[in-house]
């Protein structure tokens, strides 16, 4: 919680936005980057024949926000689900499980397509994954563990309880 309880905090709001204003969209990008740096876990949504399924994953994000990545053993339900249908969503938020979350917390939902990384790409992302989650090094190095990249299409950012902005990353 910020020292002045968030009231009057100078973060970007719709009032400072203009349509097609790159300035505003860079503010929102900065906000998302800070959120992703601070948070370690994301909720991953997949589905099994239409039945939604949510799980927690330790994640990382590219500088340009175009890719989110996480690791999962190949025997998991989530891996089976995203192999059958690569359309997924990830939710990252900074709530503290307290009543004041309602006015203070921020949540970002990313939608996009998941793909398992291979070859040099896997090596590069694996190094970054380990740098971010050093305690998961053995886990991610395991031959049974897949490293998944999500190519993001949209971010939907919720703040102040009900103010929602949508950032388009790819068509």
């Amino acid at each position: 919680m910020s020292p002045d309880d968030g009231w009057d905090s100078p973060s970007a709001t719709p009032a400072t936005l203009r349509k097609s204003g790159t300035h505003a969209s860079s503010q929102i990008r900065a906000l998302l980057k800070t959120l992703f740096d601070e948070q370690r876990l994301a909720v991953l949504a997949t589905h099994q024949d239409g039945q939604p399924y949510a799980t927690l994953v330790a994640f990382g994000a590219d500088e340009d926000l175009a890719t989110l990545y996480f690791a999962t053993p190949r025997a998991t339900r989530k891996f089976a689900n995203l192999s059958a249908d690569p359309r997924v969503a990830l939710l990252v938020n900074n709530s503290a499980n307290q009543p004041e979350d309602i006015h203070r917390a921020m949540a970002a939902t990313a939608t996009g397509r998941a793909v398992e990384l291979e070859g040099p790409k896997r090596a590069a992302y694996q190094a970054r994954y380990i740098a971010r989650h050093p305690h998961l090094e053995e886990f991610v190095r395991s031959p049974s563990c897949a490293l998944i990249a999500v190519a993001v299409k949209r971010y939907v950012l919720v703040r102040r309880f009900q103010t929602v902005l949508e950032l388009r990353i790819s068509p």
Partner: protein, 734 residues
């Protein structure tokens, strides 16, 4: 009885300041110094905090204040926030575990004898003292239950609109601010007042001000006091300014009421010279006790002088340039002041305004020669400016009648919806609705006359029966092509008016819902049942005043629009005459240019060239608003394409079923209400025109949406949720 929740003044100690607040602490020090102060207990900040925590109100306040960035709130929205916060305090009783011991202690101490319940904020002697009247006090409260009700209202006043406006100076924050409350035996004096040990404008003098009766009238500014200046050195009265003594404040069951001063007292000064010196000595003694110049409140009861309050004198606050807060707060008028205002508005200003408009309608600018037309334009411009300034000085403050009633209604009824009171105020015959009815008539004529709609659509001039109605309408209300106030340019043909008639002819709307009428009557009965005797008469008067204030909120703009329309008509006549001299690509011509050209046939007209039409393809909108938060201002939910109004000309394209999105619903836009599916407005407030008209037509309405016209584009698929105050934009597939 010295507990965590309640500390009697005589049991307080030097370390109690943070929990009993500034006012309580000053009185504790005075009592210890031997001053005669009324018997009192302090309700501690611990009780306030426990109440906030246990009822969840603390978090509710945070939600209310974090809906939007605070800097985006207009004063009206701040007032609305304060009203909603106050409603939380009114509706949530003290939890049993807190109420039991507090009630018992208050009952043991005061029984049913009358008390004053006053705010005692811990910060009070620092910043807040320069904002006298920021928090509320209640006088003549009897019995523990009523005292606890008043305590909740005093707590709520920590979050009053004034406090929210000055939140930075007050360091107001949900986590760090708390309110203690002083419950003080009511001393009903025969004369009361204030005294300054040090005249702020002349340090060699002291000041005593006194009124007959209670000092509430003086403190509120409702009763003018007699004023004495005292030479500090020689303790000699060096000046006395007698007041026009007409009223006094007396205790009544609702607290305090102003009454006519009995004639025997009108000719009598509230104090004799010896008493003036006695009061001044009291102020000096308080100064000695605290070691700084003091501002004291006192009363004489049963020949004894009582000290009610003492606080350090602070120099008046100089408003920084551009600081509008003083003006906002000056809009909060007393009931008495509003009654005078009403009398002036209804009996002088409105008739004069209508007469001015009629006089202008009767004079056809087409019959004047060029020089006379120029003079007429100047004259109309002056008349218009005069009424615009009357609008700001008199009509805008009168709108407070609605707010004042809202507070009285909520305080007595404690409704779940803090805006229920608006239901009682609707269904008044407003000029805006009358105007819409006339438009409906013209639409019905178009519908009933074969071929008429097609002809109008083709741009043909209106046929005879419609043309006559149109002319009569335009004489009365103008052609709806320019905003009511501050118009610089209007379109020259009544296209907007013809469009709305065509739209209405094609889509006859189902008209204002009749249902609220019966409900308004029920609410009125229930409201008035809370009062009896003189109080009931006052409540009736207040409702009547609020209805008149609510009605004026729309009517004044219509009347103003009529006057402005006559100025526009004269300017249009000038443009018509000067057409041969106006360059073809001219978009805007300043009226001063028209005047110069009328008076001097050789004058070369200068005009702004038409802006080149932007033809670049619309940029891809990478960042879009998916959901925007405002205030729920008209219940209901609607979905439809957005029609964003940036200039009055945009209205000409308005189609039935669209959602009106604008910066501020101008009263001259309200005729689109029956055609639209919902209203979204950047300007915030529950009592603004858009909200009032939307309620009148039963349209979902959300106001106070930051940058609504920037983030929403015409054609966007919008959902307006008038229950929750949110607007959702369909942004396509994820």
């Amino acid at each position: 009885m010295n507990t965590k929740w309640i500390v009697p003044l005589e049991a307080a100690g030097p370390r109690d300041r943070p929990r009993i607040g500034g006012k309580g602490y000053a009185l504790y020090r005075l009592l210890s110094g031997g001053f005669r102060v009324p018997e009192a207990v302090c309700v501690t900040t611990a009780l306030y905090r426990a109440y906030l925590r246990r009822t969840g109100i603390g978090e509710r306040i945070l939600m209310e204040l974090n809906r939007k960035q605070f800097k985006d709130l207009r004063w009206e929205e701040i007032w609305d926030s304060a009203l909603r916060i106050r409603s939380l305090f009114l509706r949530k009783e003290l939890p049993q575990a807190l109420e039991g011991p507090v009630k018992k202690a208050l009952h043991a101490r005061f029984g049913d004898s009358p008390v004053a319940v006053r705010s005692s904020a811990p910060e009070e002697d620092a910043a807040a003292v320069s904002f006298a009247g920021l928090h509320e006090s209640f006088l003549n409260v009897c019995g523990a239950e009523a005292i606890i009700d008043s305590i909740r209202k005093v707590w709520a006043s920590l979050w009053s609109d004034a406090a929210l406006l000055y939140r930075q100076e007050l360091k107001l924050g949900v986590d760090k601010s708390a309110m203690a409350v002083l419950v003080q035996q009511l001393v009903t004096g025969r004369a009361s007042g204030v005294a300054f040990s040090h005249n702020p404008v002349n340090p060699a003098q002291g000041v005593v001000e006194a009124v007959h009766g209670l000092n509430q009238g003086l403190v509120d500014g409702a009763v003018a006091p007699d004023r004495w200046l005292i030479d500090r050195q020689r303790r000699r009265i060096v000046g006395h300014t007698a007041a026009e003594r007409r009223q006094w404040a007396v205790a009544d069951p609702s607290g305090v009421r102003l009454e006519a001063l009995p004639s025997a007292l009108q000719s009598k000064t509230p104090l004799d010279d010896a008493e003036v010196r006695q009061v001044f000595d009291l102020a000096l003694a308080a100064q000695d006790h605290f070691g700084s110049p003091q501002d004291v409140e006192w009363t004489f009861a049963e020949r004894k002088l009582h000290l009610l309050q003492s606080r350090p004198i602070t120099s008046g606050r100089e408003a920084a340039e551009g600081d509008q807060r003083g003006w906002y707060l000056s809009l909060k008028r007393s009931f008495e002041n509003l009654k005078e205002l009403r009398d002036r508005i209804e009996n002088e200003l409105i008739p004069a305004m209508l007469a001015a408009a009629d006089e202008l309608v009767a004079l056809d600018p087409g019959r004047l020669d060029d020089a006379a037309l120029a003079a007429e334009i100047r004259r109309r411009s002056e008349i218009n400016s005069h009424w615009v300034s009357v609008y700001w000085a008199e009509f805008i403050p009168y709108a407070h009648g609605v707010r004042l009633f809202g507070q009285v209604y909520n305080d007595s009824v404690h409704p779940e919806d803090p805006y229920e009171f608006l239901t009682l105020l609707g269904q008044t015959p407003m000029a805006g609705l009358e105007r819409n009815r006339l438009i409906d008539e013209m639409a019905a004529l178009v519908r009933a006359t074969p071929g008429m709609a097609a002809a109008l659509q083709a741009g043909e001039p209106p046929a005879a029966p419609l043309a006559a109605k149109l002319a009569a309408f335009i004489d009365r209300f103008g052609d709806l092509s320019c905003p009511a106030s501050g118009a610089r340019h209007c379109t020259e043909r009544p296209e907007t008016l013809i469009n709305v008639i065509l739209q209405l002819a094609a889509h006859p709307p189902s008209h204002p819902q009749a249902a609220p009428g019966a409900r308004a009557e029920d609410l009125k009965v229930a409201f008035l049942a809370r009062f009896s005797g003189a109080e009931r008469r006052r409540a009736e008067e207040m409702l009547d005043l609020a209805r008149s204030s609510y009605q004026l909120r729309d009517d004044d703009n219509i009347h103003l629009g009529r006057i402005e329309a006559r100025l526009t008509a004269a300017l249009q006549e000038a443009r018509r005459r000067l057409a041969p001299r106006i360059p073809d690509d001219a978009a805007e011509i300043d009226p001063s240019e028209l005047l110069l050209a009328l008076e001097n046939p050789a004058h070369q007209l200068r005009a702004q060239p038409l802006a080149a039409k932007a033809t670049a393809p619309a940029p891809v909108r990478t960042l879009r608003a998916r959901q925007l938060v405002g205030q729920p201002a008209g219940p209901g939910i609607a979905r439809g394409p957005a029609r964003v109004i940036l200039t009055p000309a945009d209205l000409a394209a308005f189609e039935a079923g669209e959602i009106l999105v604008c910066d501020a619903v101008d009263p001259n836009m309200t005729f689109f209400a029956p055609l639209s599916a919902g209203v979204v407005e950047r300007r915030g407030g529950m009592l603004i025109h858009g909200a009032i008209i939307a309620r009148e037509y039963g349209l979902p309405c959300v106001t106070g949406v930051p940058d609504a016209t920037g983030l929403i584009e015409t054609g966007d698929d919008l959902t307006v949720d008038g229950f929750l105050g949110i607007v959702t934009v369909a942004t396509g597939r994820l």
